[in-house]
């Protein structure tokens, strides 16, 4: 057993939870998508987010064993499992972001820790501190061009890529899971700012929020 503390911070009890955007919906509202909407955003709240730290080779083995998927070894790599529900993203040469359906993260953490044994690694649950936002629509890319300094042209940002970059005056993880969809992983305390930014910048595209 690892000499790190593990702690399931989630409960199955019927307890009210609030996503990082709860305040934003009340404060700024959430325009309903309409026929003119060329961009829509949708929050995927309460997912399980784990940071994996360690060497690629060691982690790859454990990830394959536990999750049945390969650890993206190349910079900016993003892979999904067959269901598309679970993903692992390269963040740095010794850091990956694992996103799984909410509630699975503690089990995965334990199984990964077991698989990794005495290896040099770390796993940190960051699910309470992050939220994921999906962007879709014909103007999604242009909205991103207004917001991030990274080149989001499809030649440069193919499906299966993810980067950490500057979003307006905040930081965001930007991913491209499919041809039509982009994802932003935002820090909780910056989420309201990013949300207001997207609504403002998306006004000319009649941005809508799917709730």
């Amino acid at each position: 057993m690892s000499k790190a503390a593990v702690f399931d911070t989630r409960t199955d009890a019927a307890i009210a939870v609030e996503s990082p955007l709860a305040y934003s919906y009340r404060r700024s509202g959430a325009p309903t998508p309409g026929p003119h909407s060329q961009v829509t955003i949708r929050e995927r709240a309460f997912l399980g987010h784990l940071i994996l730290r360690g060497g690629a080779i060691v982690l790859d083995e454990a990830v394959r064993e536990v999750l049945g998927m390969n650890l993206p070894g190349k910079p900016q790599g993003l892979v999904h499992d067959a269901s598309g529900e679970r993903s692992i993203q390269w963040l740095s040469p010794d850091e990956w972001l694992l996103i799984v359906p909410g509630g699975e993260e503690f089990d995965f953490e334990n199984r990964l820790r077991e698989a990794l044994g005495d290896a040099r690694f770390a796993i940190v649950n960051v699910g309470g501190g992050q939220t994921l936002l999906e962007l879709e629509g014909p103007k999604a890319r242009e909205l991103l061009m207004k917001s991030v300094v990274y080149d989001v042209h499809p030649d440069h940002f193919p499906v299966g890529k993810g980067v950490t970059t500057v979003f307006a005056k905040a930081t965001a993880i930007l991913r491209r899971p499919s041809d039509t969809r982009w994802e932003l992983v935002l820090r909780r305390s910056f989420a309201d700012y990013c949300y207001r930014w997207l609504l403002d910048a998306g006004e000319e595209y009649a941005i809508g929020v799917v709730r």
Binding site: A4, F7, T11, A122, A168
Partner: protein
């Protein structure tokens, strides 16, 4: 008013539609496709402004970005005012309202003009420096009047109703300028498949092709432009940006493009069809692989006397107005030139059916095809001569022409006066090298083209006129070649395209002519303007050189040449040539001209984008923000966080909705904590998860104190220094497991400390097995503190809170309000305290559960102000308030937190034994008790020992924190005082701005519960 100068046909305007606009209060008509300048000329408006220094009447000179005079105030309403709009670049729209920026009572009859006429002689360059010095006391009065004449247009007095935004663009080939060279380059690059952006500053792409009298493949040149633009529009790999000026060329091919999105439609951006706001301007931040500068060339005017009288134009501008806008800007033209190409102005004028009085050519025997054509059309060509002076008051009435000796700079012949209302001149062409110059590359002088050609850093290419090529065939060929080359450099081979055949025309060589000689020497001749916007004359430049200003940079600064909103596009080369003549040097010897961004001015709003107002800077919120807002919290900015400062409640007695003051609320909140229980949202504290076999070792190196013996389940306060020994952060770190710690940092320091830890790990100690991950946002932290804290928590937790089983400085894990929680028994108030950490998504539930159970205990929310009072009563420091980067742990009296005998030389240790940190008399943290308990000392008040000492009065320290303590019913303070630790009991003085002096006693920093019993209960 009729458009007296509108031609019967021709031009790219839509004659079927009329637009009405207002200039200086008068209504005029124009057409779509006009610029404000072309419409003013069409209506016969000669005077558009008054000059800045001499208040001389001025007219339109140019047709583009180089225009110095036609700078107007735009805007129909106050909020929509735009200062300094160049009329030559402003598309006409219906309802446009513009005014001259200078002239009182109006631009035609200007009283300041009298001052200019009379006073002009007394205002040589530098005259300010030579006068207004006596008496010294009067300068501010003189200046008040000098300032009255400052400025061109005016700022609106209301906030901007419009929005702006940015687009982050990335491309392989950026082509700047969509004239012949740019179109050719863009087409060549586009056909390779490279990602291409083509931008152009004008309303329409096509550049010089739009007013060309030449043909391509037998068709009018503009047809080829249309065809290329159509093809480019159809290509997915090409982005076309008309009305978009490349203004700044920054490092590594980062170019800022300023797109005017709606300025051609109205002074305020109209809403879109869906009713959405749209940007008035957009700044494209382009990162390019290769950049093609196809920015063309600016024609140089000749410098002759009276060259600023309205009716003096650039030769090329005359052609542009006639061919593109269908406007002939006068009746009788005299054209003064030194080259063949400018002859087209006379040919166009002649074809428009107006009189060309003469072409005055400085060359003794001009012989190109266009010269022949002009002669064939019966136009008088006077050779070896120049217009030496334009006569006229509000408009040119005659040109004085004479034979000149260019080399000797003399008038050699009899002066002939030719009646005319327009003088156009051309002294050759200057490649537009501004953008290349921004990169730091020096331009080089080319004697053949009599101009500077751009210096080019790797990845930058200049095509066509920007590189000194002017014949259309050569320009197209150079565009093609460079487009292919640029695309290839990005890995896209291009086969280019077939060039359309251009006419073959023979042009004779030009001669160098900048300033035209006059019969009188320069200092005595009528004013010969070099930079019209700044009223810089040839005489002014000559005078500057006489006074010892020999470098062109000195000349420019002494005369203000090139500092206008046109940035010297017309004047700089002429000015250099004049300085060179005066100094008997060559132009390149006098210096080179360094242009800085912007090429043309850029609206602040566009640079700001949407980073303003609510989005100026992120506002960071905790998971409890909604609750704080609902409960009336006043907020304090702490870094980017909004933190509850205090919670003012409705005053019990007044009942009229009045809320408590800060002082009242804080007193109430403090009492609640000391007497019952309070709650603080502490979620903003930085939290860093630290894991690894060497985590403990790492902590020992980065903190000043010891970490080897901290057991699992326990917490410890730590102090962090930089290697200069100065305190930089503090916080509590808990041992979660042998190899696992949770560090807390100050709210403001969180990001910097995480980077600090990574710095040391990655650069100095990579061998240590340790990782750091921010969990600040993952956890919500709720601090309940006060005598009733245990009872309250016990109601909703399964954790054993027994005082001996869960001691001070320990943490436990369990459930609070049904939610998994880690509870830390640490205290920043001195009271019994539990810090409850839960996953942030549950924060509101736990917080509200605490309130449901806490009501009977008087649970009171408190903010940062109360937190500060309570911690100060205990002598706990706030890094950044009680420290300022010059304070060591020893200065704070925190030797207990320094592991002097730790084996590893931890960060900050060595610096503690430097001479200055060892010396006596350092400022040390102490408590201050004002003699008068009613006094609350001012934070920042300076401390002296002898308040009767004359100014400058020696100061021994200052107050860092000061509050009224409801618990003590007295003011108290923390302060740093020289040698303070040895001065307990001493009296110090605090002389204040209002003349009073407070007296205080130096005491311990701990004002409350000195033995620390309350936190242990």
């Amino acid at each position: 008013m009729s458009q007296i100068h509108r031609t019967a046909r021709g031009g790219r305007i839509d004659r079927n539609r009329q637009l009405t606009f207002t200039f200086n209060g008068k209504r005029y008509q124009g057409h779509p496709g006009d610029t404000l300048a072309s419409a003013l000329l069409a209506n016969g408006v000669a005077i558009v402004n008054r000059s800045f220094k001499y208040s001389r009447p001025r007219g339109i000179v140019a047709a583009g970005a180089e225009e110095p005079n036609a700078v107007v105030q735009l805007g129909a309403s106050e909020a929509a005012q735009v200062p300094n709009v160049r009329a030559t670049q402003q598309a006409l729209y219906d309802g446009l309202v513009a005014r001259s920026t200078n002239g009182w009572p109006n631009v035609k009859r200007d009283l300041m003009g009298l001052v200019g006429k009379l006073g002009g002689a007394f205002m040589p360059p530098g005259f300010y420096y030579k006068t207004f010095m006596a008496p010294a006391s009067l300068w501010m009065t003189y200046e008040k009047y000098i300032r009255k004449s400052a400025g061109l247009g005016r700022s609106p007095t209301e906030a901007d109703p419009d929005i702006y935004d940015h687009l982050h663009q990335h491309c392989e080939v950026l082509v700047i300028g969509a004239g012949p060279a740019g179109l050719a380059a863009a087409l060549a690059a586009a056909r390779s498949g490279a990602r291409v952006i083509l931008c152009d500053e004008q309303e329409e792409m096509g550049g010089s092709l739009l007013d060309s009298r030449e043909t391509l493949a037998g068709e009018p040149a503009e047809a080829w432009a249309t065809q290329v633009i159509e093809e480019l529009k159809g290509l997915a790999n090409v982005t076309l940006l008309p009305r978009t000026t490349a203004n700044g060329y920054h490092d590594h091919h980062f170019v800022t493009l300023h797109e005017r999105c709606t300025e051609h439609l109205a002074d305020t951006a109209p809403r879109t069809a869906n009713g959405a706001r749209q940007s008035r301007a957009r700044l494209h931040r382009v990162r390019a692989g290769q950049v093609v500068l196809a920015t063309g060339a600016h024609e140089r005017p000749l410098v002759y006397a009276g060259n600023d009288v309205p009716g003096n134009l650039l030769a090329g501008a005359v052609s542009t107005y006639i061919r593109r806008y269908g406007v002939v800007p006068g009746q009788q033209l005299v054209l003064s030139v030194n080259n063949d190409y400018a002859y087209r102005a006379a040919l166009d004028w002649h074809e428009a059916g107006r009189e060309v009085v003469a072409i005055v050519d400085a060359r003794p025997a001009p012989e190109g095809d266009w010269v022949t054509e002009a002669k064939a059309k019966g136009i008088r060509v006077i050779t070896g001569s120049a217009v030496i002076e334009a006569k006229g008051a509000g408009r040119v009435s005659a040109a004085r022409v004479a034979a000149i000796d260019i080399d000797g700079f003399r008038v050699t012949g009899r002066v002939e006066e030719l009646a005319c209302d327009t003088v156009a001149s051309s002294g050759g062409y200057s490649p537009v090298i501004h953008l290349a110059s921004h990169t730091g590359a020096r331009p080089t002088w080319n004697d053949e083209i009599l101009g500077f050609v751009p210096g080019l850093v790797k990845g930058v290419h200049a095509a066509g006129g920007a590189n000194g090529l002017y014949a259309l065939g050569e320009v197209l060929a150079s565009g093609l070649e460079i487009g292919v080359r640029a695309a290839a450099a990005t890995g896209h081979p291009s086969s280019g395209f077939e060039l359309p055949s251009a006419e073959v025309r023979r042009d004779g060589p030009q001669v160098a002519l900048f300033q035209v000689p006059h019969e009188k020497p320069t200092l005595r001749a009528p004013k010969q303007f070099v930079d019209q916007q700044n009223d810089v004359t040839a005489a002014g430049i000559e005078l500057a050189t006489r006074e010892g200003f020999e470098s062109i940079e000195h000349v420019k600064r002494y005369t203000a040449m090139g500092f206008g909103t046109d940035q010297g596009k017309l004047g700089n080369i002429n000015g250099m040539a004049i300085a060179a003549r005066c100094l008997k040097r060559s132009i390149p010897e006098v210096g080179t001209t360094v242009f800085r961004p912007n090429y043309t001015p850029v609206t602040f709003g566009a640079i700001v984008g949407r980073h303003c107002g609510e989005l100026f800077d992120p506002e960071r919120y905790t998971a409890l923000q909604q609750w704080h807002v609902e409960h009336g919290a006043a907020f304090e900015d702490v870094g980017q966080w909004k933190r509850p400062w205090y919670y003012p409640q409705a005053r019990a007695q007044s009942g009229n909705g009045q809320r408590e003051t800060l002082h009242e609320a804080v007193a109430r909140e403090c009492r609640a904590v000391r007497e019952t229980v309070g709650i603080l949202d502490a979620s903003t504290l930085g939290k860093i998860d630290i894991q690894g076999a060497d985590a403990r070792e790492f902590l020992g190196r980065i903190y000043t104190n010891k970490w080897q013996k901290l057991d699992v389940g326990k917490c410890r306060y730590g102090l962090m220094c930089k290697d200069d020994g100065m305190v930089t952060d503090d916080g509590v770190t808990a041992c979660l497991a042998d190899n696992h710690f949770l560090m807390t940092t100050t709210t403001g320091g969180a990001a910097a400390i995480l980077e600090w830890l990574e710095l040391w790990h990655q650069t100095e100690w990579p061998e240590l097995d340790v990782t750091f991950t921010s969990v600040t946002d993952h956890w919500a932290t709720m601090t309940i503190t006060g005598p009733e804290a245990r009872k309250l928590l016990a109601e909703i937790t399964d954790i054993d809170l027994d005082r001996d089983r869960f001691k001070f400085m320990e943490w436990r894990q369990g459930k609070v309000a049904g939610v998994p929680a880690r509870v830390f028994r640490i205290s920043f108030t001195g009271e019994l305290t539990y810090e409850i950490n839960v996953q942030a998504n549950y924060a509101r539930h736990v917080w509200e559960t605490l309130f449901r159970h806490g009501e009977k205990y008087g649970l009171t929310p408190y903010g940062t102000e109360t937190m500060h009072v309570l911690r100060a009563e205990k002598g706990f420091i706030i890094v950044g308030q009680d420290t300022d980067g010059s304070v060591t742990p020893e200065d704070l009296g925190m030797q207990w937190c320094v592991g002097y005998d730790k084996p590893f030389p931890w960060i900050g240790k060595r610096a503690l034994s430097r001479p200055d940190t060892r010396r006596e008399g350092r400022k040390q943290l102490v408590g201050l008790r004002p003699r008068d308990p009613k006094v609350v000392l001012e934070e920042g008040a300076q401390i002296v020992l002898d308040p009767t000492h004359a100014i400058p009065m020696p100061m021994v320290g200052h107050v860092t924190s000061s509050y009224y303590s409801p618990t003590l019913d007295a003011g108290f303070a923390l302060a740093v005082v020289k040698g303070g630790h040895h001065k307990l009991g001493a009296t110090v003085y605090l002389p204040m701005a209002d003349g009073t002096t407070h007296e205080a006693e130096i005491v311990s920093t701990i004002f409350y519960d000195p033995k620390g019993e309350r936190q242990h209960v």
